[in-house]
Symmetry: C2
Subunit: 488 residues, 2 copies
Amino acid sequence: MAGPKDLTHLLSEEALARRPSPLKTAFKYFADPNVVFLGGGLPLADYFPWNKITAESPNPPFRNGIAAVPQSVEEATQTVLAKHSSDNGHHQDIPLSRSLQYGFTEGQAELLDFIKEHTKLVHNVPYEGWDIITSIGNTQSWDATLRTFTSKGDTILVEEFSFSSALETANALGVTQFPVPMDDFGIIPEKLEDVLTNWVGPKPKLLYTIATGQNPTGSSLSSERRAAIYKLAQEHDFIIVEDEPYYYLQMDTYTTDKSAREGKAVHTHKEFLNALVTSFISLDVDGRVIRLDSFSKVLAPGSRVGWIVGQKPILERYIRLHEVSMQTPSGFAQSIINGTLQRWGQDGYLDWLIGLRQEYTHKRDVAIDAVSAHFPKEVSHYIAPVAGMFFTVQFDASKHPKFEEFGKDPLKVENALYEEGLQEGALLIPGSWFKAQGQTNPPQKEQTVPGSENTIFFRGTYAAVPLDKLVVGIERFGKAVTKSFGLN
Amino acid sequence: MAGPKDLTHLLSEEALARRPSPLKTAFKYFADPNVVFLGGGLPLADYFPWNKITAESPNPPFRNGIAAVPQSVEEATQTVLAKHSSDNGHHQDIPLSRSLQYGFTEGQAELLDFIKEHTKLVHNVPYEGWDIITSIGNTQSWDATLRTFTSKGDTILVEEFSFSSALETANALGVTQFPVPMDDFGIIPEKLEDVLTNWVGPKPKLLYTIATGQNPTGSSLSSERRAAIYKLAQEHDFIIVEDEPYYYLQMDTYTTDKSAREGKAVHTHKEFLNALVTSFISLDVDGRVIRLDSFSKVLAPGSRVGWIVGQKPILERYIRLHEVSMQTPSGFAQSIINGTLQRWGQDGYLDWLIGLRQEYTHKRDVAIDAVSAHFPKEVSHYIAPVAGMFFTVQFDASKHPKFEEFGKDPLKVENALYEEGLQEGALLIPGSWFKAQGQTNPPQKEQTVPGSENTIFFRGTYAAVPLDKLVVGIERFGKAVTKSFGLN
């Protein structure tokens, strides 16, 4: 395996402007036994008011499902965190005296080790010198990524429909977003090639993609598409930012035959790992992928702990940024998450992820069954997602009885459906709310026309509500669609 | 009390470019009982693996000192955090199902209430409509402040010597720093007035000041100076950013008479509150002060929880930024800190801060006693700090025997002392490492000359080391100074 390509020419003005702190040179004496170090403004750990923290979790292999609350102390994983490592701490624990102190911007070693081991198991990154640093979740990682690679006036590639907050982050930084055409299965590599071949002016620095369980469309890129897109990144020299919060919410294939569902389920660790889709980072021979991962969807969003995978020299620029902004995820979060994961072990964590897969597969099945049962087939199109929290249903706006009256404006049909849904008592999000806004000023010779102009869609989620409410909500929205299209 | 002035004309391009998310309009239906909300990608709290978290702390009034570890369960404050508020939670607790979920970018209500009550006790902010939001510590707050007020090419005012990371944050964003002359007691208002009166071009948007226990100088601005500086901010229409991590590390007045020390100590809550210096926010009739506060120095840096005090319309711009970057402090941190503080109560928290004051007063006394005993009086100048973690000792470089040989370069004397210190086995940080770098290109007609050109200084800390090591370190550095200046 070779090392990564030098991609420093893709760094932003801000990233290039960061100077090393002279204080760093002094810190090499911090642990020198011959020097009394009066250099750093660190409070003594004696003054941290927490002597002990404990956290109780269910125990692998989670036989009663990941949501089952342990009924006794014996059924639970007890994480007991001490202030000092000598105070009866588990040998892989991060003692509070360290996690609650300054330092370790890249993250605490024990937690990084666990995540790195897990990353090796899953992604098998094909170059020497990749690494991992912690972040405060993918939203922060994306903001840091924009600051590391883009300067005001730059253009980036985004999916035609994307997470609106992510687009807004780029917008406020003065970074233009060029939308790449998608279909039911995500970015269309041939269309992306057209975009790049016809590009006028400085090439885009990066492609931002929510490659698995895409938000909002629910689509997931196949291995073939990822390979084709990676090849384009090499040819046109851009970074691929794979924002993958939903990667571990992959599900068994949907089938309408309920009796066949159990047969499709993943059970062993090997089956689980084999069933995961190819990630961009696993194709990354150049070191041009920045992978954004997070515990938000697999453990808890409020933990505010994520991680970034990439080549070391680029991660070093992130560390310099983190030093002068958020520094590091909370020590409470790092100690508790690490303590729990170290007690579960890599196998126990895979058990947890398999349990999560079962839960989401079931929720997805219930949602798609309900869509199939309650949405009018004449005007609706949907595919069952294979990952993530979202499903989408597309409609042909031109079939709406008021299409002419609305001046053939599909957005007016979309709004009519949204309002009718609220009348019936169900809310799904109109797809146009996620549309990338960069189209008006594309630095292109000719513009590609994505999809049919009259296709509109709505995004629903099966993640946030219990199953009974999920079915009621979908039934209500289906009724609203039926009514609005005059099909009842 | 009147409301704040409209200061939106001072916002940055980035802050002004932020658009409200259309998704926000949908979220008003989130809690509507008539609507099944399938809009948001939130995981169910059932899948958060932590059912219970407990944290053990010492108990107010901390009679054995804040560093004393509780010897029994009865001596400790036991914070037991449940997943759901109904699960035996303390009524002011933040349940894990909420703190570990998405949402509440401004911070969790219970914690904000506690901090707001504390802020009222201490600062008595003199306008209607001030508010508080959480941050991830003052480093992140400062980064967010720069992004909220400054655009590339802007100039800000900073203390002539300042926290190098804070200056570097501005530097990388392309923001020029103009250094304001200081003396032993911080910014000199008359010099600042000169700077502003002679200013050419667009006025600076803000003044960044570490007003209490300044880093690196250890100086603290008097009430009179703060009032004078505030008046200048009104006249020249800029924001004052008071970065106050050390505000609660204020100490009793230093005296060489050891027997008089106990008599100067603060004991009651009233004495403690009265002894605190006037903050800028307590003078802020206009709403032009942004106060950055943090638990880093008073509880633990790794908690990564701070807060920002300011007028609501400006804090709203921070919230929009936080939504698309770090979002919110970790839910673990918010639940644990809030749980502990709610059990201590406002009075218990003041007890903690008084305990901290006693610890730091003693450490400062030991440090200054040692400086007095071991530094050669002929070339050294120092004053005992009244706040913070740092003391500084100034030297007249022109008295160094090699001054001529060094080409009259005071920085070479500084470096010689640094190296001699390391030889003796003690490290203090050279003052020049903290010098603001904006001088080379000041947008000014005439430049003020700060202090004597031949004065150099070193920053030491009494915070990070036990008392015995502190004395050894100071003794060694004093010996190095004595040697280097040829005084032995």
